[in-house]
Symmetry: C2
């Protein structure tokens, strides 16, 4: 297999080599010439035993890299993503403005909803602002809030001891903003409002407001939203109807199946940190949900989405790989573990994928060039103020 | 069990109640009166069926909280830590300047060391700065670096394919700074220096220099340091002598037993994020090592360390709990999952613990008041520029 290189013209194949490459969905045909991208040429050298010929002289991998890296930023990161997908016997090609995917409407997941029908409360919480925790002064109501809505914590988790209901910041906010709970602020020795509480916490804790908004989106749809601390995420979620009392199915404890991570648009997260959060959830067999504030039109940026990726389809009894005739399934963005990705960038990528009728995949290259894939599927949740996505650890 | 309260005098017990509490290591004796701390009184109400008497009227948990929260910041967080330790049948008391622990010298772990005896290299790496990856132009040397020192990645991880050695940022830096590797920068089309590489990467990637310094500490002691991406940390570590070639013990793959997380002193980490990193390592049964730059005297801050905690000791054939006569084992700092903790704060806590002859424990309260404990044990590594600690997930 021989690829030719010329400083001005670029990389191309001819004759039988071109035929073989074209059949394998490499390159772009133009007359008799099959033009290749740098990552295609690098792949041919690295793993196809091919050579690149520059006026009769063989070029090494590092020479092709040196020739293209200056005009093609992050070429090694893109190459790693390309190599790995190809190595799984699947097709991957550069995405451009004309890329259009197969229909993906069925991939939006609808989540159930049920009203949080709690009547107006006639009680007061004693609020310790420096701890961001409150204690309710009404034992009967405490038991009700805990049993019916799994709000707060009585005694010790999973133990039937104690009678004092401790409410956290999100719970105090929800109950005071939406259900009339009064709040006595110990620091000021007087009653305070949900607005004051939020103002004070937001000064100390970054993104408190964004986190609370996501919390409310799910709580007002009847979901039980508790801390995800043990699973390394912001929240864990139970579907409407879950209770801390033992379940009806033989007294078994109800386990959460979903965790929720909130990604504020102002936040820039190291890709490895982002992946770590998804990884923990996967380790405990929970679905990872990413929540992001909806952006306004001027928030979006043009973040590069590198590739259109194909997978397999059923043909008779066999699975065969899909080709450009089938249309791609994924918009694949190649990132490295040490890059930062912001909420805005991720939202912009998701929007781009949606416009192309594709699902988004993040392909993460670690420092040893191994790849991990995460696919993002949109969730539909009634009246939600944020966008939510299920994130799936994909093995293509 | 009755506790008395007076606005001016405080909380105390008398007579038989005082005796029982004293025998259980509650309170501070002063003549006939046993003075109690607010968390002790809260615990007595919450889980000991006790009452607090204020001029003949019983006070609720929330009233004691309201009386003390204004002058005792983060009281609910401290209370949660206190409650959990006590609930395990163990003793815990407020720490003060006179607190002095049992001997702990044996708890410093010495790690082995072996020189990285690589001779000066006569080769060049082609460096793609935007990807932060390089490719070596010398196949024989590539094989050597990969096999003997597990530097870079040839072909695909755990597969014997390909011949191109890809080096990451840390590896290129190490080889160029310490072993004479020349670096050809594709963006500038000329040779560059390790200093230039660092300058460029550090502009894009926060803490690149700090990360590299930790990398060098271990590499120059003969350790193999690879990415910890799959384990949610910065690095994974193999003891001196590990190789990517299959091991001698029946051809089994060598698994890393340690992961390394670097905590720059300028960084403020959400406690839950910090815990998530430790949690992933624990999930894959690896020892978590935390690396922090050594501070200078003026860097240290006076971060509150709340409690001195006791554990159990062997007495004859039984395990009995330790008491103030034995001296405490731990300095326990109570934090909540949503607070931020910085490298400086953690280092200051560690220094304080060391001066008191105690090991540090972080007691993390989640939003549901459940507690997780992490103990930090110092590591001794030859000529290391940073401080290193093993972090152990503790169940008291």
């Amino acid at each position: 297999m021989e690829v030719k290189f010329d400083q001005k013209k670029g990389l191309w194949a001819e004759g039988e080599d071109a035929d073989r490459l074209r059949n394998n969905s490499f390159g772009e045909q133009d007359g008799k010439t099959l033009w290749l991208t740098p990552e295609e040429a690098l792949y041919i050298i690295d793993l196809q035993n091919g050579t690149v010929n520059h006026n009769g002289k063989a070029m090494g991998f590092e020479e092709v890299l040196a020739a293209y890296a200056p005009k093609d930023p992050r070429l090694m990161i893109k190459y790693n993503a390309y190599r790995d997908w190809r190595d799984r016997g699947l097709i991957i090609r550069r995405a451009d403005k004309t890329t259009k995917g197969q229909s993906r409407s069925s991939q939006v997941k609808k989540y159930p909803s049920s009203e949080m029908s709690l009547k107006k409360l006639k009680a007061k919480v004693v609020w310790d602002s420096t701890s961001a925790m409150g204690v309710l002064d009404d034992q009967k109501l405490s038991r009700e809030l805990f049993s019916d809505w799994w709000l707060g914590q009585i005694g010790v988790y999973k133990q039937e001891r104690g009678s004092v209901l401790k409410l956290n910041f999100f719970e105090v906010m929800l109950l005071s903003e939406h259900f009339g709970l009064r709040v006595f602020d110990t620091a000021k020795s007087k009653e305070t409002s949900s607005k004051n509480i939020m103002g004070e916490i937001a000064r100390r804790r970054e993104f408190a407001k964004t986190m609370y908004q996501a919390y409310v989106d799910w709580r007002l749809n009847g979901y039980i939203v508790k801390t995800g601390f043990k699973f390394g995420t912001h929240f864990r979620i139970y579907f409407p109807g879950a209770s801390p009392a033992k379940g009806s199915d033989g007294g078994k404890w109800v386990h959460s199946k979903h965790v929720l991570h909130v990604f504020p648009k102002e936040e820039k997260l190291l890709v490895s940190e982002w992946a770590r959060a998804v990884r923990v959830a996967h380790g405990v067999k929970k679905t990872f949900i990413l929540g992001m504030p909806k952006l306004t039109d001027k928030d979006y940026v043009d973040y590069p989405a590198d590739f259109a990726a194909y997978r397999r389809k059923k043909k008779g009894k066999d699975w065969v790989r899909e080709t450009p005739k089938d249309g791609p399934r994924y918009l694949l963005a190649a990132v490295s573990e040490e890059e930062h990705i912001g909420g805005v960038e991720l939202a912009s990528l998701l929007k781009k994928a949606e416009a192309m009728n594709l699902n988004l995949i993040l392909s993460i290259t670690d420092r040893e060039t191994a790849i991990t894939y995460y696919a993002l599927n949109k969730i539909k949740l009634k009246d939600a103020k944020f966008d939510y996505y299920e994130i799936e650890w994909l093995r293509p």
